[in-house]
Symmetry: none
């Protein structure tokens, strides 16, 4: 691995290659009152021991003074708005070059497997992949699947995870299907390490931690949980619990004691 990538990825993954990333990029997709005061969230993330934060450029401009020297910066270059005809019609909306200039430690690019415009997304991914490579900037490929039958979802996510790793992602962030039999297979089929996306708030912190344990058991290197962190009262507490599972190999049961 190129030294630029090595130096930057070290601000996202810890020495053992594990990570807890917190995304706060949801504002373009809907109304989340918790995202009104991002500075307070950042304080919680730092206190909770998060490794990195995943955000968009405007948010970075706002919170940079708080995160400088404390959290890795995962900079999102794709997006689609909640008020658009199709929030899954993910486009490249930010320059990868600018991401580097502004201090990104990685860029993240989302593809929706099975989407009618998947070929377009994949083509754009390929372009960003080559640019990021030439800049020494790690690329995180994020995979979700178009709404579909449960059975399909597992296969779509495994497929998406693989193809982004085939075309240059250094790390994959993927959703997982309800069908747990796919967990291990999705991770094994990727050519690069995988972190688990959290999705909408689960019914309880217990469920969140149990899910984290399951994906770690299946071979993931970490989690990238947003709503399941900052929609709880005390984000720092749930982050500490997640860290125990991700970095110390503890069970959800043990971690739950922190809450």
């Amino acid at each position: 691995m190129n030294i630029g990538k090595k130096l930057r990825i070290s601000r996202i993954l810890d020495e053992n290659g594990k990570t807890v990333i917190v995304p706060i990029d949801h504002g373009i997709e809907g109304y989340y009152p918790e995202l009104e005061r991002p500075e307070q969230l950042i304080d919680e993330f730092i206190e909770g021991g998060a490794n990195a934060v995943l955000l968009r450029r405007g948010m970075l401009e706002r919170v940079a003074p708080k995160i400088a020297g404390k959290l890795g910066v995962v900079y999102r270059v794709t997006g689609a708005t909640g008020s658009s005809p199709d929030v899954n019609d993910q486009r490249v909306i930010a320059s990868t070059y600018e991401a580097l200039y502004r201090g990104a430690d990685a860029v993240v690019f989302t593809i929706i497997a099975g989407h009618p415009k998947e070929n377009d997304m994949f083509t754009m991914f390929g372009e960003v992949s080559d640019i990021a490579y030439s800049l020494g900037l790690p690329l995180i490929g994020e995979v979700d699947a178009v709404p579909s039958s449960k059975a399909d979802r597992g296969e779509l996510l495994r497929q998406g995870t693989r193809y982004l790793s085939e075309e240059g992602a250094d790390l994959i962030k993927t959703y997982f299907p309800e069908d747990e039999s796919f967990y291990r297979s999705i991770i094994k089929y990727s050519l690069v390490p995988v972190v688990a996306a959290g999705g909408p708030k689960m019914e309880s912190p217990k469920k969140v931690l149990e899910f984290a344990q399951k994906v770690m058991d299946a071979g993931a290197v970490g989690v990238c949980f947003g709503r399941n962190v900052w929609q709880y009262e005390k984000p720092s507490a749930i982050l500490k619990a997640l860290s125990l599972i991700v970095k110390k190999g503890k069970t959800a049961e043990e971690a739950l004691k922190l809450l």
Copy 2:
């Protein structure tokens, strides 16, 4: 031929201009459990005497230490995912310049003859052809045909083979139709040497070797077989058998004795 091309093509074709290439680029099109541990496959390919491996950039990043100095690198610049609306809607997803910088010995570009977007593909092929030429990088044109009647398929493949060779391919990888009467004609109509694609796993190794013999008899300079190599228990064994046919002019019957 430009010296850069000459030096690079010598890592794909042997001294007599013959070659056995193994593609492992299928991961973006579906789930192949055999591709979960590519390093083991590479060991088999080297043991079996393959000349080169055909892959995508993420896979190259992963297996480069294993193949360095041992296998030629055929780097794929086109693709479409198995979960997309149309896996035949092949796009340019990787930079030809980057392919060179990363050590590719050739780039490979797929066109689907008869596809509704064939004009678009052909335009993109032309662009890549000129870039590759200026870089001294050999270009392999790969041809498949849209699903169609048997009769059409032979004509489409012959047509595609010719037009890619007309626009700058240095080597053609093509599928062959069921109708064997087309074999010789497809190869003769190409302006440059042709290697045969294998396609899905055939019913037996015997069939694989017989097909290899037939295309060699028809004038091909080699084979580019993936699933028909690595979906067998012992890829190195079938590769050795293929080498006998491709490089030593042995019959399928003789080669079969190796299995």
Copy 3:
């Protein structure tokens, strides 16, 4: 300050804007047996609590795995060899763009005030300054003076410090003259914060710590000591002592107890 700069400078300066930087870029100027095994030095620097290391690209390639996530990277873009007719004839020998791609947190550029080629150096500094600014990359201006009378030296260093800060340096690394009456004036006249260069090994650690205290008292934000760190038996110990002075406001006398 642009956010890229803010994020990067935070890996060089601590939360209070203080820093202990260790340069290991001397290999091009002479033979230093201590620099034969840089990995061991890096371990000492980390243990001693250094903030950043100042080095050249070949050294970065070698020690990147060790410093990733632990030390800021100050990447030198100028140099002249010890075997050249004039080691003060500093040239731009490395690309600022490449510095960024390879993970530099800042670039450092040396000017020799009073040198016959000072105008040339200053012109090159201006060019690098604009490039670094556009990339969000902090620029450290380093000042030394041509060998001259004691009185001149103070004025040359004050002058150089000012003009580099006038033309875009974000931080100054400067030598200090023997005449201590210049200390405060040099720092005050700079438009940006100043760190003190150490120069050749002093006669004792006590002298090193006393010098550190003096420049901190005069308004510096830190030190950039190489030979006075790694030419001592236990670099980590002297670094800890320096940190006490630079970051905790302790006296040299107090810090000396650590040795």
Copy 4:
């Protein structure tokens, strides 16, 4: 290390990182009747088991068909002619981009330590270093010293070796001084592996082999001998003997039995 570099360097260094390189780039510096028929020399080099040949672009154009697939290509980008006022006034005379396009596995750049124009050479080296890096092309830094006293020569060579490795050489080719006490120190002070240049024809093959053993014992990874190979009657024989020493760890005495 970047994958392009990894793939290319594997055509110069063997699996254990050892190498025997033969330079045939001397034609611009004088009249060597042996270089009138380079094709015959190439046959000898291949038979003798050389890893790579070091040459200029016109020579590459001529011998490419012979070396394709058999010898690594070290492409010289600097030079000065034997009829010029100063053969040590080394300039960049060939494009690094073109070197890549024409199939170079590495470029080689010579600096003369202690030369009045050393600063200019070093500046050019820096530029080529960044270009080669961005292209994934290994860079070999070659060091010689200006004619001087014996004592100086050892120090100049150690200095030059170090500074080229500090500024991005991936491998060093250096001359060695008469004073053998410098051998180990020159190699240890380099940040990257070192191969030994041979210089003018020595008095006997025995001397050549003894020198090879000495530099290998001192830590070198191989030799780059030209005149001491092709000015002997049977270059392939002396190459086989050198290979025994370099790659099998044999003594000069043992290797001499091959002659």
Copy 5:
């Protein structure tokens, strides 16, 4: 050889690789009344069976209508004026790109071996060499030696011939020394074919033809005679005689019968 080069060089060399080129580029170096009406000379060259004409861009603009389809165009990119302090201080005075755009079949670049500025000339030659190569434009390296002792002259010319061929010339035009023992050696030491320059008008056509025979016997592929063609009354006649020697292998004695 690249196809552009192959197509263009075929307008300079005949099917057997032989050529008679006539230079008319002397106007910048002095007053030659014969060059006042170039159109008439062109008619003679065509009648005499010349293969190509060597000229400068202004001359090409003037005679293009006459030579189109009849004579190859060797376009000079270097020069120094007769009124300058040093007519041997050859500089690049014309763009190689423009040469291509204006229809050049080759560019010619002169170096004066042994000149105090030889390193500068060689550096420029290297740059033009890479440009011409990338454009598919043949490059003719022309060698002369600084005025010197007879013995030196042979060595300088052999040296210059070799180094231009080492750095990318496709064809060499060289002067020959008085000492005929160098003839064969100069040609043998070149890596590419050689044509002989004529120099000032010789004492008789017989001498011209005898010289032509001598260089052809020594291995040259042709001649490039200007003053020895157009300073004779009937240039077409001497050209026909030269053609007999160069292309039909006739002796000077036989050819002389044509005059």
